[in-house]
Amino acid sequence: MATGNLYELLGVPAEATADDIKAAYRKASRRFHPELNPDSAAIEELKLVADAYAILSDGAQRQAYDAALAKIGGGPLLVSQVMTSRAALQRLDEPQVLYAMVMLRPSLTAQKLPAPPVNLCLVVDRSTSMQGDRLDRVKAAAQTIIDSLRENDAFCVVSFSDRAEVVIPLLRGEAERTAAKAHLGMLTAGGGTEMLEGLLSGLCTLQPHLSPTAVNHLFLLTDGHTYGDEDGCLLLAKLAAADGITISACGIGDEWNDKFLDQLTGITGGTAMYLRSADQVRTFIQERVKGLGAAYAERLRLRILPDRDVKVQSAFKVGTEPMPVPLETRPLLLGSMPREAGVTVLLKFLIPPQPEASSAPQPVARLSAVADIVSLGRRDERLTLDILLPVQAQPITAKPPSAILSALSHLAQYRLQERAAEAAADGNIPEAIQCLSTLGTRLLAASETQLAKVALAEARRLETTQSISEEGKKNLKYGTRALLRTSTAPNL
């Protein structure tokens, strides 16, 4: 259920003055303060009230909120658009493949919307290899984050090597900024990479501040492998996702485990990214944090209910941040929806044999999307849509929509890279060489000369050294993945 209106949460009419709102907030925060109200639901309510106040107490934010409400009226907050690879199924006594590109986006576009409150925890690897430039730039980025915190934002920093330390316990608003920055200065490199310790400590620090109407985010920065505690980390990520926390990660340099970080972040609907060198770290972190405050919705989940004998074979998020979506987690977690764009997922269905033609549309699957509209303080906003297609007797000759073709052509490249890496890891060198050479040719044909060179260089490297370089592998993986972003549906 939607939590409804921010004014109702504070118990004031929509035309209340700024002073009324302030007074109402004071009253409500006493009413629901855990020390004054023993009920277990009180703390939850207090957070909702605080998030509502964060928007309504700021003149510009309140104006944006009012305008947005007026514009939507009672209408939906999420809208969708679906494109399928074929306009009809084909009458066929064998299975057939159907692709559906599902675009979910805000119902309000080109409208100024309030910026949601952000609860952010930065978890920083301070192992010996982070020494120097890497750690310095992370610190510099953290300082900028501190300077840009708004009234209701919360920020904490945890570092880890062999153990975890809370560097900045929790910073809310403008209080104690100088002290927090001084704490950052004491962050020094040394030791190993025990990621589980860091994640655990980060999640614990963030935990008391989670809110269903805020952006709750953990940002992990690392440059190394964690050994032996991967399963523990994945389990923690699952718990984090259940609590509404999204984890994203940034791997610096070449010596980190991309497969593991992809998995860890994917479980929560977040993404892992690759930074080749330290000089990009600062701008990168700042951009990411700016992105968090520009969210329209968080915790976007997509439930796919296939009709009888239809199978969902794969899901790939193609926009705005391309990443494979694990099918094991149901509903699919798609992370954050930016205000200016939407989220696009490409689904692959395997349709059972269709013995009969039918002009009446046949159901393929029902999709339900649910999200917390953090920029308008509404929870669990829902949208339902059905994929329905007629079944035609003649072979289908119409060209698939170009957005689907283009996304799939990039996805085919991504898959080639993936197969090459797997084959190389299994010691199947000829197969890996084959995949990389094919990938190189396809990338050349698509005028992606830089990436093509990397693919062909790695193919040659495999021939001589029987192994693939970490740098080349990551370049190809994150490079081909980024190509998908350029292919996101043009009519969004």
């Binding site: 493949v97 052509s409 094919t438 044909a445």
Partner: protein, 168 residues
């Protein structure tokens, strides 16, 4: 099931790209991708007469055809088949002769531009309905009408010209 034209892997109906080799399985209109030139631009005489090939092509051996694109250092030797498609390699198609390395894309060569067919002792050139047309010794050819070539003829695909040498 459908079969990938490149690697012969079997895929379900409705699949758009081969899961093995990544080749595109549906054809997209040629003209949609080939760069088009206004006809006036195609008809204008080349800035300079096509320079004689940088390297004089080796007289091809018996049964061989040599294509010598302008500006190319070595000629393309063809042998062993009765028909060769000249064009550009792309995700969905692999012509017998890929002219991309000779600037085919920039010069408006279609993915399936023209074919050369060996007919006894004769060599026939046919335009395959290309976007920018084919010329033989400066004369535009009609699409899909084969014309007999003579040893040393100049052919022009879009804006890419080359000489054809053969001994059959």
């Amino acid at each position: 099931m459908i079969t990938c034209p490149v690697c012969h892997h079997q895929e379900y109906e409705g699949e758009l790209f081969c899961s093995q080799c990544g080749a595109q399985l549906v054809l997209v209109e040629d003209a949609a991708i080939t760069q088009h030139f206004p006809s006036a631009q195609l008809n204008e005489a080349p800035a300079t007469e096509p320079a004689p090939p940088a390297a004089i092509p080796r007289p091809p051996g018996p049964g061989q055809i040599a294509l010598s694109p302008e500006g190319a250092e070595a000629s393309i030797i063809l042998a062993g088949k009765f028909e060769y498609v000249l064009g550009r390699e792309s995700q969905s198609q692999t012509p017998d002769v890929d002219l991309n390395p000779y600037g085919g894309r920039e010069k408006g060569v279609s993915r399936r531009h023209a074919s050369l067919r060996v007919d006894g002792k004769q060599l026939l050139l046919m335009d395959l309905g290309s976007a920018n047309g084919t010329k033989l010794n400066g004369e535009p050819m009609r699409p899909r009408e084969p014309v007999r070539l003579l040893d040393g003829d100049e052919i022009r695909l879009g804006k890419l010209s080359m000489r054809v040498y053969f001994s059959l």
